[in-house]
């Protein structure tokens, strides 16, 4: 569990620097105001790590969220990045708009299970469909944290509330949903497993399109008790990594060798290679239907399969689909946009 406490004025010359000369601290944000032990804070730490490792200039990132404890977290990382804490459940449309305006921004969306699967379900699904380029993290704790512990739509049947009452509505599984809707990058992880989450985040950041990461992120205050299926303990006991992602950077080389069939390499648009190490050798993480069937099968046997579960080898994001110019629309000069008086005069003739 990490709480990011930036001390902005103090320089730490001893801290390791990344390729652009920034330290880990340069990727931090304000002090977290979440409950001590909240899973969301660990995800924040993983985000900081991933951006630092990839040497992404913080100010080229925009952090977007809805409303909820999870949605507060963008304040706790990348203080040099613009943040947008939208209204409840509607971050995906803000993301689509921001992506439309400036395709050069790296968009990171953080949401909760209430935010994405209840009030925001429609927007979530349509952002997938539109393949908006955004790394979309769903910090999934099975409850509404900020409004004090109601079941969310991801709560499993039989999972118990703090006061003992069991949830009776079937859960919406965001991973299966994303696969069904044709998402091009689908992962599930656990806030307690940074070793798994950081590489997934890095892979997501190289993905051109909607990169979806469902992260089980226990709510210590309202959903970490006996009988909950989103507790630290339950998740630790039931999570099974089925695909591990490693990032082979542009000019990098992975030297370790793996058994035949144990890995699948996917080359991303920018040339980076995502190497998927699979637990089940016959599992193909680039086959949507296989991924779906495999996850369902494991779930039936009580497991929570995790990892970069599906990665589409080819993907066209919103801008490619819409054939927009390569530069950000917001950077176009007035002259490039306004046809001018001569054009108007000519146009007017058509209305005479």
């Amino acid at each position: 569990m990490t709480t990011s406490i930036p001390k902005p004025k103090v320089r730490h010359p001893g801290l390791p620097k990344n390729a652009i000369g920034l330290t880990h601290r340069d990727y931090e944000g304000a002090v977290s105001t979440l409950c001590a032990g909240c899973g969301h804070d660990s995800i924040t730490a993983a985000i900081i790590r991933a951006f630092w490792e990839l040497s992404i200039p913080p100010h080229t990132v925009a952090k977007l969220s809805g409303i909820g404890c999870s949605s507060k977290t963008p304040a706790y990382f990348l203080k040099e990045a613009h943040g947008f804490n939208a209204v409840h459940g509607r971050m995906p449309s803000i993301a689509a708009g921001a992506a439309a305006a400036n395709r050069a921004l790296t968009l990171l969306g953080v949401s909760g299970d209430g935010d994405s699967l209840s009030i925001g379900l429609g927007q979530f699904c349509h952002a997938i469909r539109r393949n908006v380029r955004v790394v979309y993290i769903l910090e999934n704790n099975g409850v509404y944290g900020l409004t004090k512990g109601q079941f969310s739509a991801s709560a499993d049947v039989g999972s118990k509330a703090k006061r003992g009452e069991a949830n009776r509505n079937p859960p919406i599984d965001p991973v299966l949903l994303a696969l069904t809707l044709g998402a091009t990058f689908v992962a599930r992880s656990f806030s307690g497993d940074k070793a798994q989450l950081v590489p997934i985040l890095k892979a997501a950041l190289t993905h051109r399109g909607f990169a979806f990461i469902d992260v089980i992120s226990p709510c210590v205050t309202f959903n970490d008790h006996e009988g909950s299926t989103k507790s630290y303990r339950f998740t630790r006991e039931h999570a099974r990594e089925v695909v591990h992602a490693d990032l082979v950077p542009l000019r990098g080389e992975i030297t370790a060798s793996y058994a035949e069939g144990a890995t699948t390499d996917v080359r991303m648009h920018d040339g980076t290679v995502v190497r998927l190490r699979k637990v089940a050798p016959d599992y193909d993480p680039t086959d949507r239907d296989e991924a779906y069937a495999y996850i369902r099968e494991r779930q039936r046997s009580g497991e929570v399969p995790t990892g970069l579960l599906y990665l589409s080898p080819d993907t066209t994001d919103m801008h490619e689909v819409e054939k927009t110019v390569d530069v950000p629309l917001m950077s176009l000069a007035h002259e490039e946009l306004c046809p001018g008086s001569a054009a108007l005069d000519a146009l007017m003739a058509e209305f005479r």
Binding site: G83, A98, A101, N102, G122, P328, L329, C338
Partner: protein, 603 residues
């Protein structure tokens, strides 16, 4: 047989058909031909919320003095829909004419002895003249158009040119149209007393006039203002605005080298998402807009509040339709005046522009972007179905190449670099407007945009004083927009004994009414509001008159309410005249309303 006085270039006609049968193009041709003859004309398409098979009307009014507001007094009815015969003939003025399809006899119960029946076996003629079933149906429309050219003395060469322009490439189609047109025309010339006293006479024509609908004009405004992101969810009567924008962009916004698009139109999953896309795109530095109608504004309410409080620009076109709820989607109204002025929960107030015609749709669309970015807030352009979807004769649009978008206070990387620290909501200039930065530009420009309580430094707060400080600035900021919105159009007339105030598409009917009243010696000053918060001159005008008539198109006198709320004019001095059944206002309503009220007062 009844007689009519000479009504050259001064009459109204109505064409009653069934939707989905192709009458729109014939009606449009007639309208355009009259326009090209230089005669002031208006066409109102009264169509059902349905795709095929229900009654639809096209109303045309010509008036050489330029009064082309809708009139309910029709001199001629082209009765092509037997389902509405009764109503159509009933609504005819004494001395009027009915052109009908005599392939079937007219029920005798409908015959009025104060009107002239002009029967013409249109269906039969088309069956004889054309082979294909669909063609027979479509050409019936062109055939009645042909008859009308004879009856009304339409310059046939103008119609020929129009057909040529429209179907030039499609020879077969052009030929059919020509044939049907001639067939109808010749039948009329042969059987009727052509032209009728309701006839047209070409007037001197100038290039200064165009025929255009408000949604197309608004789309041009978006294009010229440099909007790059449009987000929308289809809804009548706003849909054609985005259609037009896409059409224009396909022509003007393709990169000449790569062929790639310099715009992106997002068909959103609903209006909530469309609003979010607009705010997201504006926040990221694009000019972004959404066209919608009343139900969409209701759905966008939460996001509108976010835009207000987090100070994010955005242009929202509300092409108003009739009613609360779904209402009558294909009828016009001005029912969203209160809603748009104060949309969303909590204390909010918004900038709203009120175009009266397509010309203002064009100019106000551009102004809306400037105001939205200058004041960093959502701006509404409140058009309506009548303006948006009907063709209006307007002065030609002009563009000033010196125009540069007012992007408001946006700090560039150099400016940010020079700053000690950047605080998003700090009123450095004392004008209520704080500078903003775009994401991705500079590390020191970063801040956290949120709809929750924040201080002038941009940090989260739950403290009363800090919260109030920002909210008070917002109130000042929006109040200061009163001077920036388009000033009202004011016409003072010597000897005026009262004032009249109106808004939007009421304009034509009110002007006509004022002329009619003046003819009777009743003289009034006139003001048309064009923006909210109201320009100071609105209050001045009101206070300068003992009595002001407020003319608008909604049930609850929403403009009068806004004026009562936002000016010092006592409500008791504002009398309400309203027409809100869904059809455009006509001068009669205003004249009668004022006369009745004057009588009351003097009684």
């Amino acid at each position: 047989m009844p007689t009519t006085t000479d009504r050259t270039n001064d009459f109204a006609l109505k064409i009653a058909t069934v939707n989905g049968t192709g009458s729109a193009s014939a009606n449009g041709l007639l309208m355009q031909a009259i326009f090209r003859m230089g005669i002031p004309v208006s066409g109102k398409n009264v169509f059902p919320s349905n795709i095929q098979g229900l009654p639809t009307w096209y109303e045309i009014r010509v008036n050489h003095r330029g009064h082309v507001a809708r009139t309910p007094r029709f001199d001629l009815v082209v009765a092509m829909n037997n389902a509405t015969y009764e109503r159509d003939i009933r609504e005819l003025q004494p001395g009027g004419y009915v052109l009908y399809d005599s392939s079937w006899p007219l029920p005798t119960s409908l015959v009025r002895d104060d009107v002239t029946l002009l029967g013409m076996p249109l269906a039969q003629m088309c069956v004889d003249a054309f082979r294909d079933g669909r063609e027979r149906l479509l050409m019936k429309n062109i055939a009645y158009l042909g008859a009308l050219t004879a009856l009304l003395d339409v310059d046939i060469s103008v119609v020929d040119t129009l057909l040529e322009e429209q179907y030039g490439a499609k020879k077969a189609l052009l030929e059919s149209n020509h044939r049907a047109l001639r067939m109808g025309r010749e039948y009329a010339l042969k059987h009727f007393d052509c032209p009728l006293p309701l006839r047209l006479e070409a007037m001197p024509r100038s290039d200064d006039w165009i025929l255009i609908d408000g949604n197309t004009a608004a789309a041009m405004g978006c294009l010229f203002a440099g909007a790059t992101v449009g987000a929308w969810y289809p809804i009548t009567p706003s849909t054609s605005l985005m259609d037009a924008f896409r059409g224009l962009c396909a022509r003007y916004r393709r990169d000449p080298v790569t062929g790639k698009n310099r715009y992106l139109v997002l068909q959103a999953e609903d209006e909530l998402a469309a609003a979010g896309m607009v705010l997201g795109a504006s926040w990221a530095g694009a000019r972004a807009f959404t066209p919608t109608s009343g139900p969409g504004i209701s759905l966008m309410s939460e996001f509108i509040g976010l835009g207000y409080y987090a100070e994010i620009p955005g242009v929202f076109f509300d092409v108003q339709r009739t009613g609360p709820s779904t209402g009558m989607p294909t009828r016009t109204q001005q029912g969203d005046l209160l809603l748009t002025a104060y949309a969303s929960h909590g204390d909010t107030k918004h900038i709203v522009l009120y175009p009266a015609d397509p010309g203002e749709c064009f100019t106000m669309a551009v102004q809306a972007f400037d105001l939205a970015e200058r004041f960093q807030t959502p701006v509404f352009v409140l058009s309506d179905l009548d303006i948006g979807m009907n063709d209006w004769v307007c002065r030609c649009f002009h563009w000033d190449d010196a125009y540069r978008p007012d992007r408001g206070k946006v700090l560039g990387p150099e400016q940010i670099e020079k700053m000690q620290a950047f605080y998003r909501y700090l009123d450095a200039d004392g004008d209520g407007i704080a500078a903003r930065t775009y994401p991705g530009v500079h590390p020191k420009g970063a801040y956290f945009t949120r709809g929750s309580g924040h201080t002038k430094l941009g940090t989260y707060t739950e403290d009363a004083a800090e919260y109030q400080e920002v909210m008070e600035r917002l109130a000042r900021k929006i109040a200061s927009a009163a001077e920036a919105v388009p000033a009202p159009i004011v016409e003072r007339r010597p000897g005026a004994s009262f004032g009249v105030v109106s808004i939007g598409s009421c304009d034509g009917a009110v002007r006509e009414a004022l002329d009619l009243l003046a003819e009777r010696g009743i003289v009034a000053d006139y003001l048309r509001v064009r923006g909210f918060p109201f320009h100071p001159s609105v209050e001045e005008f009101l206070l300068a008159h003992d009595v002001v008539y407020v003319v608008e198109m909604n049930r609850d006198a929403q403009l009068r309410s806004l004026l009562a709320l936002e000016t010092d004019m006592p409500k008791t001095r504002m009398r309400s005249i309203r027409s809100w059944g869904g059809v455009p206002l006509s001068a009669d309503v205003v004249v009668e309303g004022i006369l009745e009220s004057l009588v009351e007062v003097h009684a």
